[in-house]
Amino acid sequence: MINLSEDERDALQEIMNISMGQAANAMARLIQTKVTLSVPAIRTMTPQDFQAMIHGMSNSWFARQSFLGALRGEVITSIQKNGCEAIAELMDFELPLDLSATEELVLEVTNILSAACLHGFTSQLELSAQLAMPAFYYPGKITQGADWSSILLMDVDFRIEQMQFDTRVLIGLSEGSTDQLLIPIRALLES
C-alpha cells in the first residue's frame, strides 16, 4: 500500500479539487445546470478492496478511460442508472433510452469529465498523460489490462441537485505512476 504523509494527502486533495472543479464546470456547461462537488477523498487501497467497492455500486453504469504517459492509470466514471434519462434529456437524447443510447450517454459524460479532470491534474503538476477512448464496461472486468498492484484512489461525487443523482469519478494510478505523481508534489511542498 502507498503511504502518504499528511501534507502530501492535503496537496493531492487540493490539486484534485481544482481539477474536478474544472470538470464540473465542463459538465455544467454541457447540461446548463449547476453541478455540485463533494470534497475529494484520497484513499490508498488494494485491487481487492477496489473490486468490492465497485461491486457494491450495482445501481450505476460504468465507463473506464485509460491514460498513458508520465502518469498511467484509469479514470472510471459511474453514473446512477436512475438518473440517466434526466441527464439524457438535458443532452437532447431521444427518450426512452435503449442500451445503445445509454452506452453513448455514459461514454460522452465520461469523456468530458475525464478530459477535464486529467487536464487539470497534469497541467498543475506539469506532467504529461494522454487519454485513450472511453469504453463501457461491467464491474468484474475493471482491472483487466491494468497494472494495478496498488491503487491510489481519488474519489469525487458530482451531484446535479434538482435531479438527485450522482456521478462519481475515480482515478486509479498504477504503482510506478504514484512515484511520478509524488515527485512534483514534494517539490511544490518544499518550494
Binding site: 492535503d10 496537496a11 487540493e14 472543479g21 464540473a24 449547476k34 470534497v39
Partner: protein, 121 residues
Amino acid sequence: MGIPVTIADDSALSRKAIRRALPLDWDVDIHETQNGLEAIEAVNAGLAEMLFLDLQMPIMNGFEVLKVLHDHHEKTVVIVISADIQPEAQALVMSLGAFRFLKKPLQMVELRETLYEVGLL
C-alpha cells in the same frame, strides 16, 4: 504595523500558494485560518482588512462567511479564490459582496492586478 490580511483555506498547499503570490515588499501581517468560522473570528479580531477566502471549507464554508459579512456590513475586502468556477458560484459570491472572484490554481498576475485595483499596491 502592516495591513492585516487573513488567508482562509483548509488546504495548506493553497494557503502557501497565496502567500507565494503576494508581493515580497508588501507590508502586511498575515494570519491563516482553516475554516469559515475561524475566518469570521479573524475579522472580528481585526486581523482581516483583506480576506482571501476559499469557498469549500469545513465547519463554515465561504458562502456562509460572505453572508455573515454582508449582513453585518463588514468593511473587509474579500477576494474569493476557489476551485468552484461555475458561473453560478461566481455570481453568488459577487452578489454577497466579494470584491473579486479568482480561479484556482491562482495566477500571480491576476492576484497582483486585483490588489492594485483595491488600491493596496
